[in-house]
Assembly symmetry: D4
Homo-oligomer: 219 residues x 8
């Protein structure tokens, strides 16, 4: 344990204080550090711990200590213990504007699911063909909150917000041609959405969006 303390101070009380489990952001951590944290986590199976932004090597380090953890390679996410909690609160619908936005959308959906919400995923419904998003309107209107993940022009969250009463969590992705500037264009679009009701999070931050959605849809 002394070694763990030299690089991490696990916030064991967070689950009590905020009511939500801790997440370990793997990017920037060494494999040794991630493995050490995973080993420490094994002692508290009562709360879910998420490992986000996990590269394949990070995932291997986690699975070494927690072999029965859930792992979604596309989303770069692991969860332990693996069983999904029984859903409580409102429905969280996650929308991916394009196929390239799927990894972030899945990270978002899985986070909300492990935080105890019912989730649905809708894919490839960008504004270039409005009929696609409109065809899902009935389901969107059943949601307590809708997470919309979009790169390029990032216009979809504003369009969705104009169609429903529930709040929209908007996630810009770093997908697109040069002047997308790694997600900056989509980020600005979302911050400037004409329709009110759009909550913006960081670029490619599917975890943050799923967490926020789970809080909004809390019972």
């Amino acid at each position: 344990m002394t070694d763990l303390e030299s690089y991490a101070d696990l916030d064991l009380g967070r689950s009590e204080r905020r009511g939500y489990p801790e997440a370990v952001y793997c990017a920037g951590k060494t494999l040794e550090q991630v493995a050490g944290i995973a080993a420490a986590v094994r002692s508290r199976p009562d709360v879910v711990t998420l490992f986000t932004r996990a590269s394949p090597a990070h995932a291997e380090a986690v699975l070494g200590a927690l072999p029965d953890a859930f792992h979604d390679p596309a989303a770069g996410l692991l969860a332990w213990p693996a069983p999904v909690p029984a859903p409580r609160g409102g429905l969280v619908v996650v929308v991916a504007a394009g196929t390239s936005d799927l990894p972030v959308a899945r990270e978002s959906m899985l986070t909300a699911r492990y935080l105890g919400r019912e989730t649905r995923l809708v894919v490839d419904v960008g504004v270039a063909g409005l009929h696609r998003i409109v065809s899902h309107l009935e389901m969107l209107r059943r949601a307590r909150v809708v997470v919309v993940v979009a790169g390029m022009d990032g216009a979809l969250p504003g369009v969705v917000a104009g169609l429903i009463a529930a709040p929209v969590v908007a996630v810009p992705t770093s997908v697109g041609y040069g002047a997308a500037f790694e997600g900056l264009a989509a980020l600005l679009t979302m911050l400037n959405a004409c329709a009110p009701g759009v909550a913006v999070v960081n670029i490619d931050n599917g975890y943050g969006a799923g967490h926020l959605a789970a809080q909004i849809a809390a019972p």
Copy 2:
């Protein structure tokens, strides 16, 4: 009415479609246009209409047509009809980090109030003196959502999000020294908040924050 159509297409159905009243963004509109819209609004007293970003001259134009409208000059906001709806849903707490953030915070609080939520306002509790925000912790934990308005470093929303279970709506303001870059610094801080659960809106957009908070705290 023909003249009105030459510059505005009021979205009369929005209240039914989304369940929230329409808002008229006055900045960039001429006094004649604002007066014309105010006159048209008079014919539908059943839903509240907000006029936001109203300069004193804009306000005068609105009050010419709707003399009994509510007007908060500091927030640049008018509402008609003036009576506040009976509150439903959860509590919305609005926090202003500094005195200079008050106009935006008031715009946010009044919007949530006219959209039917109970509201509270907390002022001058920036992170430079942590004891100030901590002293309000009991009220913050009663909220269904907390709106945090902050300029300069914009650090307060992340600190508040780390202390409570409810989501935080973060509003950067254009207050600060040169490298605040008119709110850009605070905006980036909020998007990068370490604590999950922070929903970011546009710089100085108190109306958008209040609307989003009302949706999150909806019954």
Copy 3:
């Protein structure tokens, strides 16, 4: 005439070379310079000359030399000779997303009109209420080119491009809250539009958009 040469070299051959009249960009010119150019223009009534970005004082200077010029104060545009040429080529439809985008939209429409195109103007049809733009679909599909003027999130041009076969000329405006960054957000959105067929011009450049539209809709 010697004095004129000290500050301007009128491109008298431009009408022959490119087939379109010259425009005098007034911003940044002194009143004396604008008046001198207007006086020189009087000697060639066979081609239309436009004066763009004309402040009220600039307009007065032009009208001093060309009292019978056409003048649209909102658009900051003058034209001489005033009679509109008989329209040739295809239809140019100009769409303003919001009321605040009207001055730029009018500049665009008037430019196309004085360059010899038939024009239509549609107002206040932003993406926050999709039914508004959809209700104009029949007219949009009749156009040879559609100019879409939008501030804030600038999402409308991409949505329109997804609905029609004709090209869209997109004009970002400097309208919006702080993170609109004086039109930068809308500009990036338009450059990243998911639907192909969007031609972007400079922020608030209604003249450029009208000129480009007239070229696209040329007979």
Copy 4:
């Protein structure tokens, strides 16, 4: 087909609605996803499908399902069915300012060609030696639209626009020394072109430019 639906919603109606074929943006898609889409495309040989931004691995995945597709490795573009449609409408001339701009220029030319336009390509005619572009003036003036692809200072589109009556589609490329900022400098130059008639698209977006040109030169 159920698997395809989990990551893509092909817009089969786009060809009817807009009159132009669909394009599959490969960047950001996995090889499995691209292969799945290619397999689905095989069932509709009546319209051309383009695959853009295809890496060699993407191309292999497409060619696995559509072995007789056209493939231009430099442009990263595939088309199926391979035969070029008979040209209709006006001439599209594509100009590459420098040799390094060729891949984007070819993507643009091939797109316009597969969308049914006659095309010509002109190479290495940057503004550092004006005589080079001027020597092509006769052909440029025959075009219904000219696509100009340029990196570094991006000055060529404005120069070309000043020489011809037809509109110019300007494509900035990410070619250049440090302060080119990956195409930002060229993008800004093009948006600020002194000569009217310049339609700007995203950095390195040859596909978008070719599509827009095909629309402008439509019969």
Copy 5:
């Protein structure tokens, strides 16, 4: 003199050390400070002193102490003693792309002239009509250095550099529509000029360009 020392330390030795006179940058100085410096300057009539960026009030303050100073209000420049030195070294040609660039171009020309060079001024020869700059080619080729002042796309310096053997000093100006970003677009264009031989100075810095040109054309 004690008071002068509290806000300025005149670099009396600069003329000896560098061979060029001192310039007093008036912007940001109070009228009292400018007047105090002007009074101190009176004691050294042997070298020219320039006052740059002088508002009308600054100019009045200078002329109060040095009534016989030369003053060009458009350029915001004063010089004392007023007589122009006899020209030595090579010819400096200053080119203004548009009429709006004239004030900066005049500041540049006058600086070079007071630093002892022969100067010529060419106006309104932007790249939108190439024939205009080409018509001055003979004079441009006689120059030891050419200063080119341009706003908007800032493309002219690169075009001129491609036509002549002498170096070009490029001065971006803050003239243009929104995406000119107060001269940033022109600045980047000039830094990325395809033709070698372009020396860039700060936005609107006519003084710096004139000084640099005088050094390049020194005997």
Copy 6:
């Protein structure tokens, strides 16, 4: 007092907690708010209170409640009680690169002085004439910390840091031509200073620099 609580929560304990007095940032506050705070301050004459960024109107509001306050209009600073505390700790030398940097330099010097340090001010010693700063070397080397205030290229702090053993507090100012970008250029220069030992603060933030210097030079 109830009214004061509606817009400010004075941090009366700050002096005990941190050992330094409170400062009231006037920019963005109304005159009523500043006057109310000044009135409240009168009840605690035992610690110094600073009012920074005070416009003339703000100053009048403060002086209405605290007529015997110290006021430096150029620095926009007031202090109450007015007597300067007896100096303790090390010497703070404040250097202004140019005359235009004087207001910020004075704000910095006065802050350090009211926080109890001995101070010296050196003016107009920019890097364009190195002999000027070198002539003050003996005094610079006596300082416990040197504050260097510079606009334009902001190069002076790095040069000073290379000459002395004490740390340098660098303050960028918003002085300069266009590409100074309101102090951004100087800010970046200072952050990238080749010589270690440079502590950077916000643009034009003389107060912050003076406070930091006082802490560094504390006994």
Copy 7:
């Protein structure tokens, strides 16, 4: 030695002039250059020389010439001679907000230590859980200066500065999601910290922070 002079001019006098040892910035230097410098350093064992930003290959090159040098691979730092000097002056506490900030924090701590200060390291105490930093308050208040290393929102330095009397050296790191923009967000947060007393250095510049801290804590 002649070869060394072709690429480096070692500042042998720096230790005398400034009182601190020289540091060799390895990034951007070839292995041959680094090896050559290391060989030259061997002749002056009386002062410590640091090698910073050393990749594993750089480290090997240094160790080839100075086999008994100290080497911390995570921090990319070597020191020779290896023995740590006896500490003088005040205590330097280095705080790393997250585990990913550790390499920069270690570089900072080691630099201060080799410059002769006593150091302590505190890890993983970000603002998302305030109780973590508060639990170290007693040690923080014993420090003469605190170095705070933080990525993402960069909020920790401002919070720490509000809790203690000593100055804080803030180091932004390039850790975080997209809108962290490689440390820009954290940098701006720190420059805008509400609490005075924050000295900002360059992104990821642990060496600079450690050097500055050693100067501030000098005896």
Copy 8:
């Protein structure tokens, strides 16, 4: 030759028109293209041709066609024919602020040398130790022009310009910590240099600087 025309239009007349040889910018060109150009160059040994930004693979391609070309791998530059022309005109001194700036400095020096100027190189004389640059003052003052190459804060060109009468060509490099932003910080510093007489070129553009210097020092 037909194949060459498909990707390059060699400007054979440039040497006559401008008096300087052509340079082939290799970055972004394929090996086949570079080899083809090199083969075409062999037919005109009367003028020097430079190949810049040549990777090792590019260099091999050039040397395949021109085996006796001069090659400097560090500078990424080749020249053919290899013999250096007899120097004419004034002396060009090239200064590299740090060792890491050497590749760009060498590219600059070699370009000037192959364009017919006498050159000298000075290395590692950054502003952190002023005595280093001052020790070369005599040679600097003999130059007709000085090229100063610097990364990080980019302060050296302004300091040199303040010491000499000749113009300075400033080359920012992409060397430095995070907030150097790949050379942007140094670029801005140089554009804002307090001392007049600084001509700025693109980041890392040693070729451009050497060319400009050769023009300035032309006989």
